[in-house]
């Protein structure tokens, strides 16, 4: 099917790309159908694009792309809500804010990640139970710290 997108204009997507976000994103409760698009071939970023509103799209990133130590912390009921039994099967995305004046100050929201059951195509924006997961994590800064730490500890492969 053809859809209008914020980043790529009109594109063709397979119908099984559609993800149903339960209760919508917080503040966007009326919009429940999205598609997840890669931002670029080698980009870690994704677009969470509204199916019906071309102008509504969110940049998102898997938290582990900039924080090697990231561990999802959510209530079990949230996993149950999207039909996940094994937490390893969940796809996690942090919604990003890119300031217009300085993109390098981009932040990711780990306090309210979007969790997705990729098989069933159901997602939900949830609230992290880890209080160190805050609204604004500076991606570039934390990525540098995280990668340096990993190199020092020799945990990388």
């Amino acid at each position: 099917m053809k859809i209008g997108t914020k980043a790529f204009g009109e594109i063709e997507i397979p119908e099984d790309y559609i993800i149903h976000i339960k209760e919508g994103l917080i503040g966007f409760e009326d919009i429940k159908e999205y598609v997840l698009l890669d931002a670029g071939k080698e980009s870690p970023f994704k677009w969470l694009q509204s199916l019906k509103e071309p102008d509504l799209a969110f940049v998102a990133i898997p938290p582990t792309a900039f924080r090697l130590d990231y561990k999802l912390a959510v209530e079990e009921r949230d996993l149950v809500a999207i039909g996940i039994e094994d937490p390893k099967e969940v796809t996690v995305l942090a919604i990003c804010v890119i300031p217009h004046d300085d993109p390098s100050k981009m932040t990711a929201n780990l306090q309210a990640p979007v969790i997705i059951n990729s098989e069933k195509k159901i997602g939900k924006q949830v609230i992290s139970t880890n209080q160190r997961h805050i609204l604004r994590h500076y991606i570039i800064e934390e990525m540098e710290t995280s990668f340096k730490k990993e190199a020092k500890e020799g945990g990388g492969q």
Partner: protein, 76 residues
Amino acid sequence: MLVLARKRDQSIVIGDDVEVIIVDVHGDQVKLGITAPRHIPVHRKEIYEEIQRENIRAAQSKAEGLEKLDKMFKKR
């Protein structure tokens, strides 16, 4: 809205399985203890409002900014 006066250690019951108890009152701050089944989410209202504002900011992000960031990531 129903308004009830309660003292310390008194509680109110909502439905069959939610109880809110006044744990402590100190000046303009009230400490509440909430007992509810696990499937009922309990959050401070400000948290939802903050997330809502952040989502609205996120929706204003533009594709051009992202291209610049991708270059920074590729350097690694």
